[in-house]
Point group: C2
Chain length 801, copies 2
């Protein structure tokens, strides 16, 4: 199998939505869903086009109750390029005999193609072929090329090219009763012979969106002059082009589209700029050339080259790895750097979770830090801009510092729903997911790691440190002192495992002393104190003045960072939370038999009027997250600092304990488990890694991928290879490696960036070679375990493993 | 004189516009003019409030000819807080006897106060006192506090607090025939008992602007509940508050205002956010506290402490230095970093030059690089975002690469006027200033220097290098080869000296072989080639692919960088341009006698139907810019690379030659001349430095400062002290000093940042001490002339001079 193409043969109405999501094209500025071209009740359903970071709040009244939710914006649809023969109905895949159908996503060049041959009820055989791109170098441009060839007939064809602002958000079935109409029409204008223009505005957030589309028709290489008519409705403009086709002779239509919004930089006015841009844009093949060059450069940075030994050969791993990276780079690209957008858990690929920003960054940033840390920086700036909102949120709860929300939207306020629908029972269930305060630890962790990897002290000084200090302060304010134990506790929160949001039959939601939360809070306190040491004295003093932080408070941090409570059971099992040991064991076998797929046990149990809160059962890794984020040495340090003993033997014991009790109801779960097993069980790790890699490709949750890919799992699974199997760590100004390639891999080669250097890394089962490409910078220190060496520019170092 | 306050005693209608400009308050996001409160024909004239980077294109038809110009946006005026007694006329300074009037700008805290006592025609004596701030920590907030005390009467007072979107741009007299109406009304809303709200939109660029204002009245410390009435007109909303005053008892009105636009980050919608923000904002004294803390921190970074020896004591120097820094930091602040704004030549202080971006960065960035290089980075990003527009401009002229415009506005297109008005003759004169292509060299220089100072290779790699390469390519495309001389030439341009835009009686505008332009182009080529070496190999290769740059073209750069032509005359005078020696000497004495102030000789001569093009006379430093930007060593290298001999003795000869022939018609001129004399004539340098410092304070050009301060001169004059007298250079990874303090200075102490380090610098006439504050970074190399030493974190080095 070609590791650079995703190929779908045949048309299958059941599968189109999944193919659509997996073939979504984007460039960080906007994204458009890929392939679907099937009929719905109104004729043709065109998939969504989403604006990165464009949110709009909608109100729905259901039985007198007003539900407000902030949703990502489905842009006016620029994909409309439809045709009909001899004045009949517009082409509809469902109404013809499909002779052949092949859809290919070219990951190397970022181009989606479909080639279709069909016979219509009148017996006309026609071939059409489409290519599509969302430009990776010119983020405001996208293009479609459609070639239509009549195989056994001649006659008239109408082609319609439209910009359709009458679209609704309609991609997630369970949101169907909620309002879905985001756009208000403002203006339609037939600019010139070949160009149409549409201006709309989001109804609540009032972002003006302008699109211009230029359509040209070619007969061989020559331009075809055809009769055109403009169709205008409120929020909709189209150009109908009439042409005569001759048997066997194809015509080619190029539609070039530009998109600008009122939030864009360096423009006078978005409508003006979108017209100018489309007027000056090259043709499809010219755009394709520069687009493909951009992708070539992205792949030069991000590609991981490895060989699976012949006896373990499988078809998919390399291709899926590329697919996952492809979607990561379409969601958070170079173009994200200059926008105020975060990294949504489902990409800009679908409407699930409404484009909100969760904690997935924790799984994504490590990937970016080693290749294009500027993207991480911009995504951390997204958080920084929402620091004051996080401060307000903490204050509103009677806490201090900054409390970032579990689901963050336009302005950084909490967008988590308070009820959610169980599709299995049809009931609306209270949703306590906002109690996942651990998202704050993830943000602090990401800041610290970004700085450690890049050495970007300016960022830390201006932005990062302030966030870390305010998050540390938040954690302190969440603690209560348990006098009996002389320990600090964090009560009433949720860990990453969403099966547990409280104690069975308890009145209040939330759990006490979630181990992951408590340890992360401890880590944040220690590192926040360290950050004050890293910064120049004057800047540290300044920051303390700005946020009114005195030595007494710092002493309290130091104290709490040494006295946080962690609960254990069965000797040395880290209790996921206090009281975990009191829960019942779950009947895995019985439920598996009864339900088959039990990844979403929460829904199954709720439909049975039961709750996972009663059982030792996890949706995803929770306590094990600690082994994911920290090396054994770091954990030993953290536990011993707290006055708990830590023997590295407890690691496999804990992994084993929780793995047996996890349903992998989150796509992130396999990522974590594959990672924590890298050293103790390489074979199982590699198996889980491959499963994690293909979570979306196979729609492992049976229906969630069509609502948007899972970016945390996509990036996290790739990062098992980039960082897990290589054992890369950047601590104390040394870039350390500790490779443990799976047996199945012959070698692994990749390029990484570290503190401004470009390094080539080559790992086999026996050796590690790091090559420092020419760069007018000081040497860096690289190490394999304790063997630390100086690596000068232009030189390489080889370690024997 | 207190070096931290600007004090104006008394009210003088002639001086108010100057005071207004000098007391403008800003925070990088918006700026508001300060003090003016005098009557105009319509009652009260309120000064302008400008939005950083907010541009709007206006059309004017004059005698059938359409003039389009892009102008900075005068925001709705939020300053309106007026009062009247017993239902009489609104208070008007011109209609009362002023008993005392004192206006103070507190530079340390960023607060403007006015204290006025007056007697009205009815014999009532009243004192009022006003404090005003534009918040430096919360960029969307501003506040006024007005205290009114009836001295000898009791009675009713009405206070009106308004948001006035009916404003016009009216600050520059010679623009008065041009359209000046920027705002379209959208919405007025009395939000609640104490809050009013206004939404307007710029008419062409369609930026929505939302303001909310909250007014509270205090009687002593208690809140006063008064009757309020709302007044609404199209684009105007006010609240009239009625209160009873008792003799001797003051009331205090606080007006807190928030401003958001549709371009802001991290908001849902600007109207919603402006209401929420003003509702949650603290009172005046709370805002003042956090505002003053922000200024305290800015001053900790930017303050330069020096002592003028008692025998040379003068009143003004320290205060004016602070004033200049104050305006620099109000125009390009921390808040600029996250906006898409440039640094306008007149600040956001007035309407002259319409907020456009010129080459003044060249005089401003050196100041910022050593204190807050993040600001420079953001301002260079402003250029990067306009790279594609610069490419289009080059292409439109048949040139290659990127040609940045002389005057850059919203989207980076050329905004220079093609005619300008000579107020002396009343004639419209062709304006060829856009031929000042040297702005491109300034941008390249700024990129290179930023990187050299900060070591920010990520910026260079992603953004800076691409600009430098495209600018280098532009310069090559401007050259023509002179076979006879075997030299490359640049023809038909203007140098910095705007008195010369062509040869006398020539048909085409432009000069040939302007020395400054040619040498700068040479420098750009050399450094662009070097940048490709500095970057990692893979990134250089990538860049060359993106912009289609091959070895053949690079070889051409190398060749031209060694064969550019420089013209000399009188043996070793660098000719300002080819043919300069043929021009007539100018009758300086005669014209001085006849006109007194001859700084703007161009206007004088034009009014006499003559032109400065005929004379050896410069408006400002042109060839001497070379000595400003480069050390003797660097110039020697540049000239010798070109195959010209360079003896350092030519430096004073050239300085002397051109100084005699310069009218200082630009405020930048004295900056350059003070700088180039630092080593050869310290006394004269210090005199010129002091003159340069006070260019705006004294409105040296007689009328231009009221139209907006001159930011290049403000920053550049301060930088004579920061970099000129200290001889700071950052070359080849060494931070070098070469102090030559003016005799008049006892010592100079300042903090600088260099590659992430915080350094304390203390210079006396005998010693130089550099102290590396604690910072977890590697040591740096510091040097005094050839004495280069390693400076570790937490240590200091002292050199004896």
């Amino acid at each position: 199998m070609d590791p650079w193409t995703v190929v779908y043969e045949g048309f299958d109405p059941e599968q189109e939505a999944l193919k659509e999501a997996l073939c979504t094209l984007g460039n960080g500025y906007f994204a458009t869903r890929g392939a679907c071209f099937h009929a719905d009740a109104n004729g043709v359903h065109y998939p969504g086009t989403y604006l990165a970071g464009g949110y709009n709040r909608l109100r729905t009244e259901i039985a007198g109750r007003v539900i407000e939710n902030e949703d990502l914006v489905n842009l006016p649809n620029w994909l409309v390029l439809k045709f009909r023969m001899d004045g009949g109905n517009w082409f509809d895949l469902m109404g013809v005999d499909i002779l052949s159908y092949r859809q290919v996503l070219d990951l190397k060049q970022g181009v989606l193609t479909r080639d279709v041959a069909y016979r219509d009820p009148e017996g006309r055989e026609t071939e059409w072929s489409e290519r599509r791109l969302v430009h990776m170098a010119e983020p405001h441009l996208a293009a479609i090329e459609l070639t239509i060839t009549p195989k056994n007939w001649s006659g008239r064809m109408d082609v319609r090219s439209a910009l359709d602002g009458q679209v609704l958000n309609g991609g997630v079935e369970r949101y169907q009763n909620l309002s879905s109409h985001h756009l208000e029409p403002l203006e339609t204008d037939p600019v010139d012979e070949e160009t149409i223009f549409l201006r709309v505005r989001t109804s609540q957030s009032r972002v003006t969106i302008a699109q211009a589309a230029r359509a040209r028709i070619f007969d061989g290489d020559g331009r075809l002059d055809v009769h055109r008519e403009t169709v205008q409705e409120s929020g909709y403009i189209a150009q109908d082009m009439v042409m005569d086709l001759s048997e066997g002779k194809g015509v080619r239509i190029e539609k070039i589209v530009s998109l600008y919004t009122s939030r864009d930089h360096a423009i006078a006015e978005c409508g003006l700029t979108s017209r100018k841009t489309v007027a000056g844009a090259g043709g499809f093949s010219e755009l394709l050339r520069s687009h493909a060059l951009s992708w070539k450069h992205l792949w030069q940075r991000f590609e991981m080259r490895f060989r699976i030994k012949p006896e373990h050969e499988d078809d998919h791993t390399a291709m899926i790895l590329h697919l996952n990276l492809f979607h990561l780079l379409q969601t958070t690209s170079m173009h994200t750097m200059d926008l105020d957008v975060g990294v949504p858990s489902r990409g800009w690929h679908g409407e699930a979770y409404r484009g909100h920003i969760f904690w997935d960054e924790l799984f994504i940033f490590p990937m970016l830090n080693l290749q294009m840390p500027e993207i991480t920086r911009s995504l951390l700036m997204y958080r920084y801009r929402r620091l004051s909102e996080a401060r307000k949120a903490a204050k509103a709860e009677g806490l201090k510092g900054a409390m970032y929300p579990w689901q963050s939207g336009s302005n950084g306020r909490e967008e988590s729903q308070s009820v959610h629908l169980n599709p299995k029972s049809g009931r609306w269930i209270p949703d306590n997911s906002r109690l996942q305060r651990h998202v704050n630890a993830a943000i602090a962790y990401n800041i610290y790691e970004y700085h450690a990897c890049t050495g970007d002290t300016e960022f830390l000084s201006f932005y990062g440190a302030e966030m870390m200090l305010e998050i540390a302060r938040f954690w302190v304010s969440t603690t209560t002192y348990n006098r009996g134990l002389d320990r600090y506790e964090i009560l009433g929160v949720m860990g990453p495992d969403e099966y547990h949001d409280g104690y069975p039959d308890a009145e209040r939601a939330g759990l006490n002393n979630n181990a992951y939360t408590n340890i992360m809070a401890t880590w944040v306190l220690e590192k926040a104190l360290k950050v004050l040491d890293i910064l120049p004295e004057d800047r540290s003093r300044e920051l303390c003045e700005v946020i009114d932080l005195d030595q007494k408070e710092l002493d309290e941090w130091e104290n709490i960072s040494r006295r946080m409570r962690v609960v254990f059971h069965d000797d040395d099992i880290i209790s996921q939370f206090e009281g975990y040991d009191q829960l019942e064991e779950f009947d895995w076998e019985g439920y598996s038999k009864r339900y088959g797929d039990i990844q979403r046990l929460d829904r199954i149990l709720e439909a049975e009027n039961d709750t996972p809160n009663r059982y030792k059962v996890s949706k995803q890794a929770d306590a094990l997250m600690l082994f994911y984020l920290f090396s054994a040495e770091e954990l030993k340090h953290l536990f011993e600092r707290l006055g708990y003993s830590f023997d590295s033997e407890i690691i496999p014991k804990n992994i084993q304990y929780y793995l047996q009790r996890t349903s992998h109801g989150s796509t992130l779960s396999r990522v974590v488990h594959a990672w924590v097993l890298t050293r103790s069980d390489r074979e199982r790790s590699w198996r889980l890694c491959r499963e994690a890699l293909k979570s979306d490709y196979t729609d492992v949750q049976g229906g969630t991928t069509p609502e948007g890919i899972h970016l945390g799992a996509m990036a996290g699974s790739v990062n098992i290879i980039q960082e897990g199997y290589t054992g890369i760590e950047w601590r104390d100004d040394v870039l350390r490696f500790n490779p443990c390639l799976p047996e199945e891999l012959d070698h692994l080669t990749m390029d990484i960036r570290y503190r401004g250097h470009s390094l080539g890394v080559h790992i086999t089962q026996e050796t590690l070679t790091v090559n420092n490409r020419r760069c007018a910078e000081k040497p860096i220190a690289v190490g394999y375990r304790d063997d630390v060496r100086e690596l000068k520019a232009g030189k390489s170092q080889t370690f024997h493993l």
